[in-house]
Structures are given as C-alpha cells and as structure tokens.
Amino acid sequence: MNTLLSQSINLFAVVLLVLAFAMIAQRRILTLIHLFTLQGAALAAATLIVGYLTGQHHLYFSGVLTFVLKVVLIPILLHRVIRRLNVRWDVETLFNIPTTMLIGIVLVIFAFNLAAPIAGLSESVARGTLGIALACVLLSFLMMIVRAKAVPQVIGFLSMENGLFFAATAATSGMPMIVELGIAFDVLVGILILGVFMFQIREQFDSLDIRHLEKLKED
C-alpha cells in the first residue's frame, strides 16, 4: 500500500507537469482557471499523501490549506474577476502555441538535468520530484512571458507558486509550518492586490491587454 502511495506522488508530480503544459497550450481563460484548479487539487492531494507517508502531520494542515486556498478561494476570486471584467474568451499569445510548447520541452530537459544530481541525494519520499517541480516553475515562468493578458499572467504566477509549494513538500517533506503559513498569506494578499489592480488597469485602459503597459521604455 505504502509503495503504491509513494508511487502515486510521482504520478501527481507528472500530473502537475502535464497541467503546466496544458496551461501553456490553452487559449481560453476560463479553461485556464479550471486547469489551475485541477493543479491545486493535485498539489493538495500530493501534500496529504506525503504527510501520511512521512508522518509529518503538519502537512495535513498544509494540504487542507492548499485545498482551501487554491481549489476554492483563488479560483472563485478569479472567476469573479473574469466575470466582472468580461474577459472569459480572450485568446491571445505572443508566440504561436507549438513554438511555445517546444520551448517548454527544452525547459523541462534543462530542469531535469539541473535537478538530476540533486534528486539523487535526497532521502525524501519523493526524491525525483524536485526536477518536476523545477520544470513546473520554469514552465509557469514561460507562460508569464508569452501571455499578453493580465489574467493569464496572474494564473502563471500562481501556478509558479504551486510548483514551488510542490518542491517544498515533495523534496523536503514540508517547510516549517510557520514559513508555509507566511507564504500562503503572502499569496493570498498578493492575489487580492492583483484583483484590485486589474480593475485599476481596466479602468485606465479599457482593456486588460498588458501590451498597453509598454510605455515605460528606455529611450
């Protein structure tokens, strides 16, 4: 049973990675939010399993926190934002999607290479997952670069946070509780500020296209 569970952590890791890819390939904002929710759920499940396997009970708490924050609260907030701003069907990327995905593959290879020597060292339950977490972080980073709209950028940012959280749970069986709480708090405050912000941008430019935000250039 326990071997299966520890293998399922790897499975969840791969699910996270595939979802990160799906986000890069996705054009619709609404689907993007669904994918993000799924990613949060996978993360929460993985956290709970790691908690069970390592006997680190604070991870239960952290898993529940992840669930509440990333599967319930933030998606609800995002849904409200896109409904209020009426941007559910925005479909713009700066590069075409296959190119982006190819760059993504290169990033994954890079991340795996970077993490491979380290992953071998760790005695944690899910040691190979560090590379996957790093790959998720880089993919979200890529998504933030190639998206021209504000909401997808924010989702990229949050998904990057997911990758980091997964690294913390899977590779190190959880950071100290107080740190995790602090991070969760920062994320929540950050998303609230971003929400405020999107309304300000919208009010100012009548659009959420961040290409409006390119006036400040070096001359």
């Binding site: 940012f157 190190t172 950071m175 100290p176 107080i178 740190v179 100012q204 935000l213 400040l216």
Partner: protein, 484 residues
C-alpha cells in the same frame, strides 16, 4: 520590555492604527510619531547589542547581531526622516489633487507596514520568514507605486509586482533547496532554517545543493537588489511612485534585499569553499555598475536617472561584497550606509523640485537656487555626494572599494572607473542647469521639509571625515561576520 518587541510592534501597530485613523488631520504627524518611536526603540536595541553582543530572542526566532542591528538603525532612521519629509510633500500632492483622502490613508498605513516588514526581514533568524517578510514588503508598496492611478504608474506597479514576484519566487526555490541541504545536514524541523544553526554547521551542507541554491537566491534577491539583467522594475517603480516611496525603496528596500543575499552568501561560502558565490557576485555587480551607468546617461526623467544611480550603487556594493575580505566588506557596509542616506536625501530634494516644476522631466526643472535655495543646495550637494566627491562618505567607501578591486581583481578596475566617470558626467551635467539657470516658477505652497536632506547629507559628510570608534568597531565586526 524587550526593545525588539518595540522595534517590530510599533510600525505594525502603527500601520493598523493609521488605517483606522484614516485621513483625519494629524495623520502625517502620527505617522512621523510612530516612526520616531521605532527609531528610539532601535537605538535602544543597538545600545544593548553593542553592550552585550549578539542576542537571540524568543526561542531563536529573532536574532540581532552587529550586521543587522546597524541596518535596523539605518532603516528606522531613514524611515523616520522620510516620514518627516512626506508630511509636507503629501500635503502638497493633496492640494494638487493627486492624493484623495482614501489614498492618504493607504499611504500612511502601508508606509508603516512596509517599515515593519523590512524590520522583520532584518531581524528574523529564520530564512523562510526572511523570504515571507521580503515578499510582504513588496506587497505593501505595490499599491503605493500605483497610487496616482496614471497609466504610467499602473504600468510601473504591474511590472514591480510581476517581476519582483517572479524574482522572489526564484528566491523561494533557493530557500527550499537550502532547507533540503539543511535537512540532510542537521535534520529537519523548525530549526533547519534558522540562520544561527545553519551558520554553525555550514561546512556540513551539501556543496552541490548549495551552489544551485545560491544561484536561485542570487537571481531572486538580486531582482530586489536591482541587479542587471533583472532590474527592469526598479526605474519604473521609483519614477512613478510618490517620492517618499522612491526614497525608502532606494534607501532601504534595496539594502534589505542585499542583506538577505549576504546572509545566504555566508552559508554558500561555508559549504562550497571555492569562492564561487563571491565570483558570481563580482560578475553580477560589475555588469550592473557598467550597464546602469550607461542607461543613466540617457534618462530625461530626474527620478528615473537617480533610480539608475541606485542600481549602479547597488551593483558596486554587490561587487564589494563579492570581493570579500575585511576591507571590501567594510567598504560595502559603509557604502550601504552612506548610499541610503544620500540617495534618500536626493529624492527628498528632487521630489520638491519636481512638485514645483509640475514635471519630472529634467528640462522642465530649472533655476532651483533662485526660488527655493534650500532645495537647490540640497540637490547640488546630494548629487556631489552621490558622485563620490570628497569629503562625503561615498568617496571614502568608493575609494576603499576601488583600491581593493585593484589588488584583488585588477581587470575589473577599468570598467569600474569608466562607469563611475560616465555616471559622474551624466549626473553632474544634468543637475547643474537644474540648480542654476533661469526660471519663472513660483515657490511651493507649503514650506518644504528640508531638514532631513541636510541631516542626511551632514551624516554622510561626517562619515566621510571621521568614523566614530564605536561605529568603526561595529562595521569591523559586521564585516567579519560576512567573512569571505
């Protein structure tokens, strides 16, 4: 009562209090009062640390040693003087219609919280909390950068948030890797991220993990420091936010980020023992100095120009700490101090000058000496100070850094000299007509608070001429702690 409690609780409570107090009269005075209280508490804390040596407080959660106590005092001091400056400054902004009562409340409340978060970041012993506090400090200032709601300020704030968010996420990854290494060396749990524990057993940390961790930490906190190529947010945020925020961002937040980087460097140095962290910092620092100097010479916006000057000086400090050794570290710490003092003084003067001209473009600001001589002299002296003219403190620290560089990394000195020369020509050439020259502008409606400018410049001058022995000993201790 523990002075540290006061140091940390005053700004945090102040933020809540000012949030409740709202835009009523005297909010500015209350703001300054809270900052003064923080300053008093930090002076008290300093006295205790100087007398008794490093102390850990509350079951090792917080840790004060000569390195951070001097930054605590500096932060509290500049925080206080900036609050003095912001009182008339924001009042004029309100009269110009740029600040509504709601925005004033936001400004005051967030200003205190920002100070509080920086102090938490400085004093915490836990590298995870350090990260959390750094991020929180960013969050408190994001809405302040966009407080004018102009397209440019929104853009600047968005960039600030996204770029710093991404950067700081890299730092979190670095912290996680650090924890991974610590878990293997000294066991997991709450203690594994405490800096005091890590510093004791830094030789045990796995070098492979640590080198990767340091790369991420350098990129992450380096974004906050403003190192090239991850500096893009900095000029925008400085130029578009209210001037008091530019002053504290430049004078304090960058220092705190550099402090975080230094703490990590000590650990990485201990684990790696091959000088790689130092070399990386030298490289990043040098590139930053050169690139910032050339960008600086192309600016038209006065606050942007001085923002680039901040990038340049942060690069110089990074370079100095990268060189390592007692003298370079000493010079770096001294430079941190004088840069914070001088740069915030410049922003104070520039803020009032821009208010008077109604524009931040340098060609619109003319003849300050005629209308507001104090502003003009403040800007002129400040610029001379930041350009490293003797007898100001910046000269002393830059001189030390350059001489060390000639000995340790001679290949780097030409670059440094060229960059400093370019910066000198650019800033001096631009500031001169702003201060002298003809104008038809009217004086400001409210008397500007220029006391902070001259206090800061006076201190910088003092540090250039004479470093008091206790301060000297303190810097030496701190420089030793950074090691390298």
């Amino acid at each position: 009562m523990d002075p540290l409690v006061l140091v940390l609780a005053t700004p945090l409570l102040g933020g809540v209090l000012l949030g409740l107090w709202g835009h009523r009269e005297r909010a500015g005075e209350l703001n300054a009062g809270m900052s003064l209280l923080t300053l008093a508490a930090s002076v008290w804390l300093t006295v205790i640390v100087v007398r008794d040596g490093p102390l850990t407080v509350w079951g090792e959660w917080f840790f004060v040693d000569p390195l951070n106590v001097f930054l605590v005092t500096l932060t509290a001091f500049v925080g206080f003087t900036t609050s003095l400056f912001s009182r008339p400054y924001m009042r004029i902004e309100r009269d110009h219609g740029k600040m509504t009562p709601g925005r004033m409340r936001l400004f005051h409340s967030m200003y205190q919280l920002f100070n509080g978060m920086m102090l938490v970041a400085l004093t915490t012993n836990n590298l995870g909390i350090l990260w959390v506090a750094m991020e929180a400090a960013t969050l408190t200032t994001v809405l302040l950068v966009s407080v004018y709601r102009t397209p440019a300020s929104l853009e600047a704030a968005w960039k600030y948030f996204i770029l710093c968010g991404v950067g700081i996420a890299q730092a979190l990854f670095g912290t996680i890797l650090l924890y991974l290494a610590a878990e293997r060396a000294i066991g997991g749990g709450e203690g594994a991220l405490l800096w005091t524990h890590l510093a004791q057993s830094k030789h045990l940390l796995d070098p492979g993990i640590l080198s990767l961790a340091f790369v991420f930490l350098l990129l992450g906190y380096g974004t906050k420091v403003g190192l090239v190529p991850v500096h893009n947010w900095l000029p925008d945020a400085h130029a578009e936010g209210p001037t008091p925020i530019s002053a504290v961002l430049s004078g304090l937040l960058l220092n705190v980020a550099l402090y975080a980087l230094l703490r990590c460097k000590v650990l990485a140095d201990g684990a790696l023992a091959n000088g790689l962290p130092g070399r990386m910092m030298i490289g990043f620092g040098l590139v930053t100095v050169v690139v910032a100097a050339f960008f600086l010479s192309r600016q038209r916006d006065v606050k942007r120009m001085f923002a680039y000057s901040s990038i340049e000086h942060m690069g110089l400090m990074t370079f100095a700490f990268g060189l390592g050794g007692p003298i370079a570290n000493f010079a770096g710490l001294l430079h941190m101090t004088v840069h914070a003092l001088v740069k915030s003084a410049i922003f104070f003067a520039v803020g009032h000058a821009a208010q008077k001209a109604g524009s931040q473009a340098m060609e619109d600001i003319r003849g300050l000496l005629k209308v507001n001589p104090t502003v003009g002299w403040g800007l002129m002296l400040g610029s001379l100070a930041i350009l490293g003219m003797p007898p100001f403190g910046v000269f002393a620290s830059e001189f030390l850094i350059l001489t060390t560089a000639m000995r340790e990394a001679p290949w780097a000195t030409p670059f440094l000299l060229v960059a400093l020369g370019v910066a000198f020509a650019a800033i001096f050439g631009r500031v001169q007509p702003m201060v002298f020259g003809e104008t038809s502008l009217r004086p400001l409606a409210h008397p500007p608070a220029l006391l902070p400018v001259f206090v800061h410049l006076g201190l910088a001058l003092l540090l250039g001429l004479y470093i008091p022995p206790y301060l000297d000993g303190w810097y030496r201790q701190a420089a030793q702690m950074i090691g390298g």
